[in-house]
């Protein structure tokens, strides 16, 4: 009964946010498309022309990386303040705190799916028709959602206690972006480094999407299996954290 109500709140708020975005700034969706496009162009020009790097990926190669990356980074960045910023409201009503980041995850994911669909069309149009390995795409999306959820919920829960975390997370994401293999194939690096690069979930995910979309092959199941296990463990820990702070976090928010 109560959970039904919380579910309705999540969907209703998400709908309201999307509607507001479409109404107030009609560039909303365009920006979502523009950001990965700009990143792609930037990396491509930088690598192919300025540095004349032979290892630089094709435009499609970078585009897959940039779009996949953007989903995760937007989820984390936009939900980071969701609990903290709702402090005023939370002083008046009880809501399970997990509801707040979930609303943001939902709206961000909705916009991502729109961009992802365009990516699929682009990839097909540029000579990579769908193959049997496309079966893995829903699995990849679900796994990435678990990763996004785990990290985003964790950050949103920590923010009220350490408001500085917003800046730290921003900086961390910027650095992580450079080593996630968005504009270079990790496979081309010396084998000794692979292990360290693949400690980064985003490197595994981006590589897997490319396997499926551009190389018509199955992603690396052992890597994905390990990542799934890690994501599930993190998610459980995070939910335990939410149980702990659910009826006390409001006291730390001074707004």
């Amino acid at each position: 009964m109560q959970w039904e109500r919380y579910r309705d709140i999540v969907f209703y708020r998400a709908y309201a946010e999307l509607k507001a975005e479409a109404q107030l700034n009609y560039m909303g969706y365009v920006w979502w498309l523009l950001e990965p496009l700009l990143n792609t162009v930037l990396f491509y020009v930088l690598l192919a022309f300025v540095l004349e790097q032979q290892t630089a990926g094709s435009v499609s190669f970078i585009l897959v990386g940039a779009i996949v990356w953007q989903w995760t980074s937007s989820c984390i960045l936009s939900s980071s303040g969701s609990i903290y910023d709702a402090g005023g409201m939370l002083k008046h009503v009880y809501l399970p705190k997990v509801v707040l980041p979930l609303i943001v995850l939902l709206t961000t994911t909705w916009k991502f799916l729109f961009v992802f669909l365009l990516l699929l069309i682009w990839v097909w149009a540029t000579g990579h028709p769908p193959t049997i390995s496309y079966v893995a795409i829903p699995l990849l999306l679900i796994l990435q959602m678990l990763v996004n959820g785990g990290v985003s919920l964790a950050v949103a829960a920590v923010m009220p206690y350490f408001p500085d975390a917003r800046i730290a997370v921003d900086a961390l994401l910027r650095s992580l972006m450079l080593v996630s293999g968005i504009f270079f194939p990790i496979e081309k690096l010396p084998a000794a480094y692979h292990f360290y690069f693949y400690l980064n979930p985003m490197a595994i995910l981006i590589q897997s999407y490319r396997d499926v979309l551009l190389d018509s092959r199955w992603p690396s199941w052992p890597l994905l299996g390990a990542l799934t296990a890690a994501a599930v463990v993190v998610l459980f820990l995070v939910l335990a954290l939410y149980r702990r702070i659910d009826r006390s976090v409001v006291k730390t928010i001074n707004r």
């Binding site: 009964m1 209703y12 109404q23 939370l90 009880y94």
Partner: protein, 242 residues
């Protein structure tokens, strides 16, 4: 003796603050030190106390927003306790109708319940055609009317009222005040917070006096009110620090 819906036993709430970069120094502030009270079915319990006595913190405990750091709180399973508030979680681009549903859900009603009460909300709020317009076009009086009409439809098991709500222009103030009074008289369980002994004596069936985070007395509203006013008069001989 009617059954008690919520029981607080020596409940205390502590706000902890950290100072400095490494969070080494910590200070504690007990907004509630020890409060024991019962909210019984059908009563209007008045909580009387001056500003800063811990009344709002007590409300948050009763609403289930925070749990006590010491002592205990027990409430009937499935009990819906709602702090009556205006326009919580509303969204400026949604219409009045949509915000009524959203606010109502925030305050504890189901979506179905809110959809079923939309006609009454529209009528009570006197919004007319504005009900379908986005609420960023509303005046503050219209916001208040919509919020109040919505809150009235939520119908929780226990209504928590922080100070007497009076919203809108004078005619709506009377209308909303009357609606609230009607609820209180019809046997709805409610907790009313005020720093004014008169309000408590007029509206409540029982009163609790909170001073400096402690429930110092409880009993008949007029008697508690008199003792409170007496203490306030003496207190004002020396300046009250808030």
């Amino acid at each position: 003796m009617s059954k008690s819906l919520i029981t607080l036993q020596e409940a205390g709430i502590c706000y902890r603050r950290s100072h400095g970069f490494f969070k080494g120094q910590r200070s504690e502030f007990w907004a509630l030190k020890s409060v024991s009270l019962e909210v019984k079915q059908g009563e209007t319990l008045g909580v009387l106390g001056r500003n800063g006595a811990g009344k709002s913190t007590l409300m948050r405990v009763l609403a289930g927003i925070i749990l006590p750091d010491r002592g205990s709180v027990h409430s009937q399973p499935g009990l819906r306790t709602t702090l009556l508030s205006i326009g919580v979680g509303s969204h400026s681009t949604l219409s009045g109708r949509q915000n009524a549903i959203l606010n109502g859900m925030m305050l504890g009603a189901s979506r179905k319940q809110m959809i079923a009460s939309l006609d009454r909300i529209k009528e009570f709020s006197e919004l007319g055609d504005f009900f379908e317009e986005p609420i960023y076009t509303y005046s503050s009086g219209m916001h208040a009317r919509l919020g109040f009409a919505t809150a009235m439809e939520v119908d929780p098991d226990i209504m928590l009222i922080d100070e007497m709500l009076s919203v809108g222009d004078s005619s709506f103030q009377k209308k909303s005040g009357d609606a609230l009074l009607e609820r209180l008289k019809s046997g709805k369980t409610a907790v009313l917070i005020s720093h004014d002994a008169g309000t408590i004596a007029r509206l409540c069936s029982r009163a609790v006096w909170i001073e400096d985070g402690v429930a110092v007395a409880s009993g008949a509203p007029d008697e508690i009110g008199q003792r409170y006013e007496e203490a306030m008069r003496q207190g004002h001989a020396s300046p009250v620090v808030e």
